[in-house]
Subunit: 233 residues, 2 copies
């Protein structure tokens, strides 16, 4: 094994807190009384349906930044908030996805893993989003792989295969790391190794999904620092 | 200005020494008496003509790794060395380009610049080549841009424009850094800012090209550490 590639939203960073923090700031300055965590969940709920059109071939590839922005417009309309946000405010709001806090173990775990392996995001986020997110949180990636270099979205197999190929590696030389069992199932089907770490707070209190590994993955670790230990880093 | 993108071969790493070191090792174990620096220069001389076919549209984009390998075959044949190198040996030899030493100021200079700007290679090297080269030399890139994400080769303008676009930036928000005046001229024509640093030892003793800035670039610095100082890092 020569490289580890990572799901990012949920696995490496806490998107719910980051988006809710931005929403809270946006709402406070406008005297809007809406639960920012509920808003974050509503925005995120638009994520998969937006990508599905592209995965299914009903729309050409567009960067996640654009999908996030379209989804924001839809969610703002759903809450009846259109008139509170002009174009520049929406562009600022959309940058919430570039300002998501890493989980407490993420930077230390990635730094340890980087000493022995190439590490890269294999996220549905764009090169731009992943770059600025890494700058924000100090994520020490070697290279940014994932959806944009594949021109497709996970869990389509092309994304895993393009990421391995971009490193000049066979899929079996690459391990996908994620807090989502379905992401790992798709990576394994594409020939990659798979490591699961649980993120039981990703969706906030009362999370019911992905609390544990639902298959016999190559590695199951408590978090990214534990993963580094288990991989001998 | 929000990002700096860099030429790599010659500007950040010393390709001549790295390739000659690999050639010397390969020749020693085979009792071949050829000047490894001359061999490195002969291999590198095939670089531009190989890319030119792709830039001119006479061949589709293929990664530089493949061009380097084709060029190696040609140069070995030119020296009458075909029978000394089987396929695995040629693949090993070709990895010389992933093991090039950074210039003494490169890692410190890039690290200082990274604290304030996004930094990325804008090289003709592939994602794979640039990733393993960064691992070898400790180059702290934020993201890898350049030829492969553009599907074209410098100095075609698409490579500079695709690199800025991949960061979500306007070309004027990006500065190209190179030891080659022609690279900077093309970047400037594409709307980027330009910084020159001389690398008078790139081609060894007696170098005559690019000893100094031949145009009024936005910044001229002695090396990458000096560039960081001049940009307030």
């Amino acid at each position: 094994m020569k490289a580890l590639i990572f799901d990012v939203f949920g696995t490496v960073v806490d998107w719910r807190t980051g988006v809710a923090d931005m929403a809270a700031e946006m709402f406070l300055s406008r005297n809007i009384d809406i639960d920012p965590y509920q808003f974050a969940a509503a925005w995120r709920a638009e994520y998969d349906p937006a990508m599905e059109k592209i995965r299914a071939g009903n729309r050409g590839y567009v960067r996640l930044d654009i999908l996030h922005r379209e989804n924001l417009d839809r969610v703002l309309a759903g809450y009846g908030l259109e008139q509170h946000f002009d174009e520049p405010a929406r562009a600022d709001f959309n940058r919430a996805w570039e300002k998501l806090p890493p989980w407490p173990d993420s930077v230390a775990g990635l730094t340890a893993l980087k000493a022995r392996y190439a590490i890269a995001p294999c996220s549905n986020g764009s090169l731009s989003l992943m770059t600025w997110l890494a700058k924000f949180g100090g994520l020490p990636w070697d290279v940014i792989l994932g959806a944009e270099i594949a021109g497709n979205y996970k869990p389509n197999r092309e994304v895993y295969l393009a990421s391995a190929a971009a490193l000049g590696l066979d899929p079996s030389e690459v391990m996908m790391v994620a807090a989502h069992n379905n992401d790992l199932a798709s990576a394994r089907k594409a020939g990659l190794k798979a490591a699961f770490i649980p993120r039981p707070a990703e969706h906030g209190p009362g999370q019911t999904s992905d609390l544990q590994a639902t298959d016999g993955w190559d590695v199951v670790a408590a978090d990214l620092q534990d993963l580094a230990v288990r991989l001998g880093c």
